[in-house]
């Protein structure tokens, strides 16, 4: 079952790529999109089959020279394959209509990208894993660059992404190859056997290298700089695939290597993970709350959510090290459930954002507004996603954040002073993140979709084609299901967790979630029912009356114009002021006086921008140093043939001298 479905998923991905290249132009988007969706569907089947107890391994010695290909799908891999596949279904359906004007390359590479992502969690040897990883990176890079002819900013984003993803690969390659060399074998089974027995120095080096490589893929601060650049420039369904599926694989790499292959590690490893997660969650959501570009905001929200996942992972590692396996399983269940939830709501959000950009021609929140009358379905879809992302009841993120907080609170008492110090801070970070996420998504939804259009472009937007709505609606349905009946997926997540942390399921129950060993319960379904009953009663009792139209309060000055509305920038200004020390916004006021008198003002210009401070402080100096080295190197090569011959002569003499001295 697993094998057949997985093979079908890969075959359909390749078929989609061929169709994207060769099919006639008229049917090309439909065929390529359908193949992508079908490949994703087969991936879901394979993943669910692996989760329900049909693991699968394969050894294909002739597929790759030297190393061969080794595949294995266990419940952990199955979970990530199922999530990736589900995102692929939505993105494929959406792409049928969305990718029509985008050209051949996007349609051919998208199914290939999905197939590569499905392959990563199935890889069971270092060479296969790295190959799938690189295939995924290159395919996504091609997709990010899809519109490079139209906008110069695409090229810059592509360059950033290429450098970050390849640097990540180098780290991952170094770590895993070193691991394989020390373990005298490259299959994951061999690494698992040898992982415990390696020297602590080697284990730490492997873990840190793998963590750095995976963190750059997951968009963890400070390796996140590619996310807010690549997402706004990539096509929307590619953004959804990258932000809802690809970043998860960074988490997969960390838990696979950290928990499974290395078999856990000392306290400081997990403190590093926890600290990176906390920094990422806070920094990501602070940038998201002040962002004005819709897709940039969503990209930073991805940083935040992956940070939350890493907080759960780090806490689980600490607990497992302290021997509290039940609580470790709880924290890890929370983290992996958040991966699933994040995939669901981020898919909806990116697809809806893509529809907005396509229909209104801009993703700038300061220029949007009023879409609820012009694009009602898209508005509802974005609303469902935003509710999930803001961790409020009736949203999917609420359940996993509740589990995460339960895990962190319970971890406080077990594991000694490191836990006692870190857990309250982690809870505070999660709580502040949750509060700021609410503000972020109230801004995104309230300013972007409600009120009145703030520009002519937004005023002339029209609803997008049905296929795009259907793609978003599928993901929104998943969001609603996850929010109301989390028990539908919790057993699967628990099985994946059991691969990493032995012991009983941490979370059980049907309508009410019960935690193993912790006296806390939650029933999202009952909360929803109670709210619905209260709403119905109130609606019957109070609000059922004909309404008279009336003017808004305009202070008696006449009708209000759209220029008087609060914009996204003004909405976030108080928070920007509160967190001024972290965000370091750049503002400038320039007053031009009249020529006759310096006391009379002719014009005032105000400029405000919140850049990425980490990028400015950490990356700019490195880039500047590299550029200086390049300039210096250029002076060495001035075009004179004599000089080049001189260099050759000196080098040759040098080599001879070295040889003469050392031999």
């Amino acid at each position: 079952m697993t094998a057949a479905a997985f093979a079908a998923a890969l075959a359909l991905g390749l078929l989609g790529a061929l169709a994207g290249m060769a099919a006639p132009r008229r049917v090309r988007p439909f065929v390529a999109g359908s193949c992508t969706a079908a490949s994703g569907g087969a991936g879901v089947v394979a993943g669910v089959a692996a989760l329900t107890g049909h693991p699968w391994t394969a050894w294909l010695p002739h597929l790759l020279p030297l190393a061969g290909t080794r595949l294995a799908i266990d419940p952990l891999g199955g979970l990530f394959i199922a999530v990736t596949g589900a995102v692929g279904v939505c993105a494929g359906v959406y792409g049928i209509a969305y990718a029509r004007p985008l050209g051949r390359a996007v349609q051919a590479v998208t199914p290939l990208f999905l197939a590569a992502m499905l392959l990563v969690p199935a890889a069971a040897s270092v060479s296969t894993f790295l190959l799938a990883w690189e295939l995924m990176a290159v395919a996504s890079l091609l997709l990010v660059l899809a519109e490079h002819r139209h906008r110069a900013s695409v090229r810059e984003a592509g360059l950033w992404y290429a450098v970050m993803t390849q640097a990540g690969l180098v780290a991952l390659l170094g770590g895993l190859v070193g691991f394989a060399a020390a373990a005298h074998g490259e299959s994951f089974a061999r690494l698992r056997e040898a992982g415990h027995a390696l020297s602590p120095g080697v284990r730490a080096a492997v873990f840190l290298a793998v963590f750095a490589g995976c963190a750059s893929k997951a968009g963890i601060v400070p390796l996140h700089v590619w996310l807010p650049r690549a997402h706004p420039e990539a096509p929307a369904h590619v953004s959804a695939l990258m932000s809802a599926a690809m970043v998860n694989l960074g988490v997969y790499g960390v838990v696979r290597v950290g928990f499974d292959l290395l078999g856990g590690g000392p306290v400081w490893w997990w403190l590093v993970v926890l600290a990176a997660g906390a920094a990422s969650a806070l920094y990501g959501i602070l940038q998201a709350v002040v962002a004005t570009g819709l897709k940039r905001l969503l990209a930073y929200s991805t940083c935040e959510n992956m940070g939350l996942v890493l907080i759960g992972t780090g806490a689980a590692g600490l607990l497992a090290h302290a021997g509290a396996h039940t609580l470790a399983a709880l924290a890890l269940t929370a983290a992996l459930l958040h991966v699933v939830n994040h995939a669901a709501f981020k898919t909806v959000l990116f697809l809806a954002a893509g529809s907005v950009v396509r229909a209104a021609g801009t993703g700038n929140l300061d220029a949007l507004g009023g879409l609820r009358t012009r694009m009602p379905v898209t508005t509802v879809l974005f609303g469902v996603g935003a509710l999930g992302a803001s961790a409020l009841p009736l949203g999917s993120g609420f359940v996993s954040e509740w589990l995460l907080l339960q895990g962190l609170i319970k971890a406080h008492g077990s594991g000694g002073t490191p836990m006692a110090v870190t857990m309250p801070l982690a809870v505070a970070v999660v709580a502040l993140t949750a509060g700021l996420a609410v503000a972020t998504f109230v801004k995104a939804f309230g300013v972007g979709f409600l009120a009145r259009p703030r520009s002519d472009q937004a005023g002339s937007a029209a609803e997008v084609p049905d296929a795009m709505l259907l793609g978003g609606a599928l993901a929104a349905a998943c969001c609603v299901l996850l929010a109301l009946v989390p028990a539908a997926v919790v057993p699967g997540v628990a099985r994946a967790v059991r691969v990493l942390v032995p012991g009983p399921d941490a979370v059980t129950g049907a309508a009410t979630l019960r935690l193993h060993g912790v006296a806390s319960t939650l029933s999202p379904l009952w909360i929803a029912v109670a709210l619905a009953v209260a709403l119905a009663v109130l609606r019957l009792g109070v609000a059922r009356r004909a309404r008279r139209k009336a003017r808004l309060w305009d202070c008696g000055m006449g009708p209000l114009s759209a220029r008087m509305e609060y914009t996204a920038t003004s909405f976030a200004e108080p928070l920007q002021r509160v967190f001024e020390n972290v965000l370091a916004p750049e503002t400038g006021v320039h007053v031009t006086p009249l020529a006759e008198s310096s006391y009379l003002v002719e014009r005032v210009t105000y400029r405000a921008r919140v850049g990425d401070r980490i990028e400015r402080r950490l990356y700019r100096p490195v880039i500047a140093a590299a550029a200086r080295c390049g300039e210096g190197a250029r002076r060495l090569a001035n075009g004179s043939v004599h000089r080049y011959l001189g260099y050759g002569f000196c080098a040759f003499t040098g080599v001879l001298i070295v040889l003469a001295v050392t031999r």
């Binding site: 709350v289 507004g369 609820r372 803001s390 961790a391 409020l392 009841p393 509740w402 907080l405 339960q406 609170i409 406080h412 006692a420 309250p424 809870v427 505070a428 709580a431 502040l432 949750a434 509060g435 609410v438 109230v442 939804f445 309230g446 300013v447 409600l450 009120a451 009410t512 912790v518 006296a519 806390s520 319960t521 939650l522 009952w526 909360i527 109670a530 709210l531 209260a534 709403l535 109130l538 109070v542 609000a543 009356r545 004909a546 309404r547 139209k549 009336a550 808004l552 309060w553 209000l560 759209a562 008087m564 509305e565 609060y566 909405f571 976030a572 200004e573 928070l575 002021r577 509160v578």
Partner: protein, 319 residues
């Protein structure tokens, strides 16, 4: 769902629904008397609600369905919170929904609905109120969760019924440093969440300083009645929760010997007294205080956050 729980929930909803406007009236009366005015009487909020409910419903120009549904959502979340929070009984009717996170998030959902309603009006005041309310909400959240963290330490659960029940059985826990620090932190949070002085002024008429009132500026008639009623209910629920977390005596215990028919009326009477006392103290405090500048509010909330952090630290090191 146990019969005792269902009975308790119904009693709580009725008590909060009917009593909360009276609480607001009593608080206004205390203020009026202390400021040397006669005051309008304790029942004035109910008379206002009746007047508003009889008016015709208004659809402000350019507003959409969210603007209309927001007061309903606000009132519904307040009602559900009133049903699940241990006000008169520790037996929760909805199994496992009396979790403090869930209640906080539920109340936040109501705030978010109202903020979206404010943004939907497309006026500067609506947006301004929504923006400020979100700032307060975002900064209040860490304090609430950390206080819960500190209080949950002694019972090993974040279930409100369990926390209140444990304080009932072991009164010495209530005067521990953990409890006192958490109480100070939560007091600031309750003031901020309910929009009282010094964070917000519920009686203000100056739009530029408003938080909550700016957000609801466009509501009129029955909609405004719902918003006012829901705000009063939220005030009652939060004050009652605060009272029962730190002085739970009199509440009908789920495991108690008294049958609920006798215990519930007693608990409701005691609760009314407790909330009236707290509300009176709050109103009296407001007479001597001015509203803080908007950008000083984060400092106040940061202070409460530090208190909560100290409470958590104390809960570990003094345990």
């Amino acid at each position: 769902m146990t019969p005792a729980g269902a009975l308790g929930a119904a009693a709580q909803v009725v008590l909060v629904g009917a009593g909360s406007p009276l609480l607001v009236g009593a608080m206004r009366q205390v203020r009026a008397r202390m400021e040397g005015r006669a005051g309008a009487g304790v029942a004035q909020p109910w008379r206002d609600l009746r007047k508003l409910l009889r008016k015709e419903a208004i659809a402000a120009d350019g507003t959409g369905p969210l603007f209309r549904i927001a007061p309903l959502v606000l009132a519904a979340t307040a009602l559900v919170a009133a049903a699940v929070v241990p006000i008169a009984t520790t037996a929760s009717p909805l199994d496992g929904s009396a979790d403090l996170f869930a209640v906080t998030a539920l109340l936040a959902l109501g705030t978010v609905a109202l903020a979206l309603g404010g943004l939907d009006t497309a006026t500067a005041f609506g947006g301004m109120g929504a923006s400020r309310e979100m700032v307060v909400l975002a900064l209040v959240e860490p304090t609430i969760l950390l206080s819960v963290f500190a209080l949950s330490g002694r019972v090993g659960s974040t279930d409100l019924g369990a926390i209140v029940g444990s304080a009932l059985h072991r009164p010495e826990l209530v005067v521990s440093p953990v409890s006192l620090l958490a109480a100070v932190a939560l007091a600031v949070v309750v003031i901020a969440e309910t929009g009282r002085i010094p964070v917000d002024n519920p009686a203000t008429h100056l739009e530029l300083t408003m938080i909550h009132e700016a957000m609801v500026l466009e509501y009129a008639g029955p909609d405004l009645a719902l918003v006012e009623w829901a705000s009063a209910m939220r005030l009652t629920v939060l004050l009652g929760l605060f009272a029962n977390l730190f002085a739970p005596w009199g509440i009908a215990d789920a495991s108690g010997a008294m049958p609920p028919v006798i215990a519930l009326p007693i608990a409701m009477a005691v609760f009314t007294g407790k909330v009236a006392l707290l509300g009176g103290a709050l109103a009296a405090g407001e007479v001597f205080m001015a509203k803080l500048r908007m950008f000083r509010v984060p400092e106040l909330l940061a202070g409460s956050f530090v208190m909560a952090l100290l409470a958590v630290a104390a809960s570990y090191f003094l345990a």
